[in-house]
């Protein structure tokens, strides 16, 4: 039992074989007994007892003595000059204490503008004009929530409406300038390229087949169950600002608050309590947060601000909104040779995308996907429009959803055009297992993968060939049935400090573990769970490394006064970064534990070996000290000259990103009379490397698939030509529930990451990324014989019916 000894050295160089091919299995690795519950055990979530009993504590549950309430006046226009704000009637109301305007914020030290995560600027409260519908105009502070809500209706704002520009293509004409505060009077924000243009053009010139397709990945919203909110509590006596906030990245937010407000960072404490879903929507800093903090600064009292549902849907950062034109080239043998992509990114009124600094289009250049090709070139342009700023990476590692949608659609169109089966076409074009680590034409180094194994497994689970026969028979009868595949590659775990930072802060993450004298532990992390189950997963990582039962490890996140500094949870980065930091911190503890064990057993360290939860003398396993005995000794009987205690901290800077992958197959039936799409079956085979908790992975996949079904069939934020939001409630913006969701069938392959300390890769976002193109491919597959090449999402019955009518199927 010496298999873990190779892992006792902290920050040891990459394991041997890091640059060689990694074997794929379907067996989950379990090395600890059930009482320890290390990696691989389907441990029930430690956080669930409080969630399922309604005992979670969210920001809106925070009630402080003397707390005031804030509400926000929002613009009914997408683009308008503000001529006058008359708050006198609101201020005359009993219980209304203050109305904060842009002028007030300006006087307080130019707080009326704030930086975005992409180093653009965004209005907190406007002084001259509004640039999007539902933009914050001013904030009312009152003694009660309902008084604040009544008071915002008493604020009279005199607007002079301006023409709005909503379509990003029209915005490029610069007839209406969204941001006239900028020196350059243009709506064009940035241009970004990846790949080799000359090589790609050559490949296209030599190609036997070239296809082209435009597609729009529409604007959607994370619509988490809990909206955003804050309780800011500033004490004029201690000059401390305590903030409860729905934050996916509390440490980064503390630094941003310190830089923007000028408050000393040690006086700011951000507490992110339980969060009811984040999905990227709780990464940005919204104007409401700043107003709430200022309201507390001004009044010296705690102030609460909680968005309502419509505010959340209409004003918070959107996701996606990429207008894509893609071309794919193939040779005479049907081998993909190149990809050429032009994309317009509709950023809204500010580039507030949650992307690493160096990547204005995020990790979009992963768009060659799972396919080996000679060359690729991607050009993206960012554009301002009169719509709310964004965009966040909704359950997505920085634009990989858009990239996967595009490549999986293009692959399917090419297969159909060449008359090849989409599964066989993929198998022919996959990057082969022996090509890993694989250098992609746009510069990524994929760590490990076995795409054929995942697709084979999915085809086996769904009985692909039989489905094709069924489809042929149904087509004879005029019935519309389609089978769609998506064999995606994800890119997560941002990221290595050489390339990845947000506002200059490198994208490491951290863990701090303290073992108490009685052998129990507290482990704190720089990330922040929003439902991912970190309290369980991280405990299992510590259990795996140290043999402490996972039940004995208390996991804590979200309080910047106690947790080590980290960049937070999004982009499936928690397990790849903070999870790795947890393993590394545990290994530092183990190294010290070995010294203590040697002291206690009076042997040399080299005579000891690790066995699940104890160090034992080689050849004499009865002579052993458990981790609990060692912990007690660390406080009661530690070797002279050694520091007492048993704790360690690790800041983990990942050497590379991780590249989870999978193959999804979807079967749809289409009602040719109504255009309704019925997802009959959906098989998802995911490979996220080594699995820490299969139960949590399964849960993540179910949730993610449902959030992948959503944009494919239902969700889109719609604006009219004046920039008026037409989907401001959950009655208009359809979020799928169990009723709309099919039965998800899951499978797995396991191809460990060669560079992650636990071989894990991250899984939270794979299903959201992989599911939409599988569903679209199935729908198009059902109608290809009619002449349908592409359908835009969301594939509403109306949209499908229009296609069917155009192709003469229905009238």
């Amino acid at each position: 039992m010496t298999h873990l000894d190779d892992r006792t050295e902290p920050h040891s160089p990459l394991p041997e074989g890091a640059s060689a091919q990694v074997a794929t299995t379907d067996e989950i690795r379990i090395r600890t007994p059930e009482k320890v519950c290390g990696m691989g055990h389907p441990m029930k979530r430690k956080e669930d007892p409080r969630f399922i009993q309604g005992k979670g504590r969210y920001v809106d549950d925070v009630k402080l003595p003397g707390m005031l309430y804030m509400d926000i006046v929002r613009s009914p226009y997408a683009h308008a000059k503000i001529k006058k704000i008359d708050a006198s009637a609101a201020l005359a109301m009993d219980g209304v204490l203050a109305v904060i305007t842009g002028e007030d914020l300006k006087a307080a030290g130019d707080l009326h503008w704030m930086p975005t995560l992409m180093s653009d600027t965004q209005m907190v409260l406007p002084i001259e004009k509004v640039a999007y519908y539902a933009q914050e105009i001013c904030a009312v502070v009152a003694t009660e929530r309902y008084i604040a809500a009544d008071a915002i209706e008493k604020v009279v704002v005199d607007y002079e409406p301006l023409e709005a520009v909503v379509d990003p293509h029209l915005a490029l004409e610069d007839k209406v300038i969204v941001r006239d505060d900028k020196e350059k009077k243009t709506n064009h924000i940035w241009h970004w390229e990846a790949g080799d243009k000359a090589a790609t053009d050559r490949v296209f010139a030599e190609a036997a087949h070239v296809i082209e397709q435009t597609m729009h990945i529409p604007r959607i919203h994370v619509s988490s169950i809990e909206t955003c909110g804050m309780v800011a509590n500033y004490s004029k006596v201690t000059e401390q600002m305590q903030i409860y906030m729905t934050s996916q990245a509390p440490h980064a937010h503390r630094t941003v608050f310190a830089l923007v407000s000028g408050l000393p960072e040690q006086k700011i404490q951000i507490i992110s309590p339980d969060i009811g879903g984040g999905f990227g929507g709780k990464v940005p800093v919204y104007p409401g947060y700043v107003c709430c903090a200022v309201a507390s600064l001004v009044t010296g009292k705690p102030v609460k601000w909680i968005e309502d549902r419509s505010e959340n849907l209409q004003a918070d950062s959107f996701a996606r909104d990429y207008h894509i034109t893609a071309e794919m080239a193939a040779d005479a043998n049907g081998k993909i040779t190149g990809l050429r992509v032009k994309t317009l990114a509709d950023c809204g009124a500010a580039d507030a995308a949650a992307n690493p600094s160096k990547f204005p289009a995020g990790l979009y250049s992963i768009c060659t996907g799972s396919y080996d090709m000679k060359a690729a070139h991607i050009a993206v342009d960012g554009v301002y429009t009169n719509k709310p700023p964004g965009g966040v990476a909704y359950r997505c590692s920085f634009r990989v959803t858009e990239a996967v949608h595009m490549i999986e659609r293009m692959t399917d169109i090419m297969a159909h055009d060449l008359g090849e089966d989409p599964a066989d076409f993929r198998l022919k074009n996959f990057i082969r297992p022996d090509q890993f680590p694989y250098k992609s034409p746009t510069g990524w180094e994929y760590d490990s993968g076995n795409y054929k194994a995942a697709l084979d497994e999915a085809m086996k689970l769904i009985d692909y060939r039989a489905l094709r026969e069924e489809q042929a028979a149904k087509r004879e009868r005029g019935e519309l049935m389609g089978i769609g595949i998506s064999s995606f590659t994800e890119v997560v775990g941002a990221g290595p400090s050489r390339d990845f930072d947000i506002l200059g802060i490198k994208m490491f993450d951290s863990a701090e573990i303290r073992i108490h004298p009685t052998g129990k532990a507290i482990a704190r992390f720089g990330t922040k769970s929003q439902g991912q189950g970190h309290e369980t997963t991280y405990a299992q990582i510590v259990a795996e490394e140290l043999g402490l039962p996972a039940a004995d490890v208390q996991v804590e996140e979200g309080d910047t006064d106690t947790a080590p500094y980290g960049l937070g949870t999004y982009a499936s980065r928690s397990t790849p970064t903070a999870g790795a930091a947890g393993a590394m911190a545990a290994r530092k503890i183990k190294a010290k534990a070995k010294k203590i064990a040697a002291h206690l057993l009076e042997v040399g360290e080299e005579d000891l070996e690790w066995n699940v939860d104890k160090f034992q003398v080689k050849g004499s396993p009865d002579q052993a000290k458990t981790i609990q005995e060692i912990a007690f000794a660390a406080y009661t009987n530690h070797p002279q000259g050694m520091e007492a205690g048993l704790e360690a901290t690790d800041y983990y800077d990942p050497p590379n990103l991780t590249f989870p992958f999978g193959s999804y197959i979807c079967v749809v039936d289409i009602d040719s009379g109504t255009g309704e799409v019925h997802v009959r079956r959906f098989v998802a085979v995911d490979d996220c490397g080594n699995i820490i908790n299969p139960l949590i992975v399964e849960g993540q996949i179910h949730g993610g698939l449902t959030q992948g079904l959503a944009p494919a069939l239902f969700e889109e934020i719609v604006y009219d030509e004046n920039g008026q939001n037409l989907t401001g409630t959950l009655a208009d913006y359809l979020v799928p529930t169990a009723v709309e969701s099919p039965k998800w069938e899951t499978g797995r392959t396991i191809t460990p990451s060669p560079h992650h300390p636990l071989g894990a890769k991250g899984v939270g976002e794979s299903p959201t990324v992989g599911a939409p193109p599988a569903i679209v491919n199935a729908v198009v597959d059902a109608m290809w014989h009619l002449g349908v090449r592409h359908v835009e999402i969301p594939m509403t019955p109306q949209r499908i019916w229009a296609q069917l009518r155009e192709h003469g199927v229905t009238d």
Binding site: P76, Y77, Y133, A134, I152, E153, K154, V155, Y159, S310, Q314, N722, Q724, N725, L726, T727, G728, T729, A731, D732
Partner: protein
């Protein structure tokens, strides 16, 4: 949003015209109208309480009449705003004699923004139709009241003397639901059933 329709009054065009030009009569017959005053030549200012789905709020605005050809047609410009949003509309109204009665046609284009549009979007169309029809029926009731038994006419609920209360929210909600149902009539039976359910739900939600 485009709005168009027609209506037949039981009285002669001259009487209809008089009613249309009288802010007091209009204020009494329009659901939710709290004030309508002549402030200049062919210019009115008023306050209207509008309820669309879950959104309710007071709108203050200005109405301007142009191209007036008594007693046959005029154009109308409406510009209103309130805490729940704004309305900007233009409309053309024409009336003509028809066998002793008066036939009215109207068509308009309204730009509606703010909460009332984003939250009440799906009910906007039906609400606008209901407001217009109820106003016209009310006007007809007032104009023809001396001549016939008010309770027998279709506009009975709104056939009120100038100065008395406008229709209640419940009555208005029922009208909106009726408009929703009307739009759905040509659809299959199950949709009609659905519409009835919507009507019921609205009635209970809004009363």
């Amino acid at each position: 949003m485009k709005v168009s329709g027609e209506y037949t009054f039981d009285v002669a065009p001259e009487d209809v015209w008089k009613g249309l030009m009288d802010p007091d009569v209009l204020a009494a017959t329009m659901p939710g109208c709290e004030k309508l005053e002549l402030v200049g030549e062919n210019q009115y200012e008023g306050e209207l309480n509008i309820k669309v789905g879950p959104v309710q709020g007071k709108f203050t605005g200005r109405i301007e009449l142009e191209n007036i050809n008594p007693p046959s047609s005029y154009d109308m410009k409406v510009d209103g705003q309130g805490a729940q949003g704004f309305v900007k509309a233009t409309a053309h109204v024409a009336i003509a004699p028809n066998e002793g009665k008066t036939h009215m046609t109207y068509e308009g284009d309204a730009q509606i923004g703010g909460r009332i549009a984003s939250v009440g979007q799906r009910l906007l169309d039906s609400s606008a139709k209901a407001i217009i029809k109820q106003s016209l029926a009310g006007l007809n009731g007032v104009l023809s009241a001396p001549a016939e038994d008010a309770t027998a006419s279709e506009g009975a609920a709104a056939a009120l003397a100038p100065g008395s209360a406008a229709p209640s929210q419940t009555e208005f909600a029922a009208k909106v639901a009726k408009e929703v149902a009307k739009d759905l009539v040509p659809k299959p039976v199950w949709i009609t059933i659905l519409a009835l359910l919507v009507l019921l739900a609205l009635y209970f939600l809004l009363r």
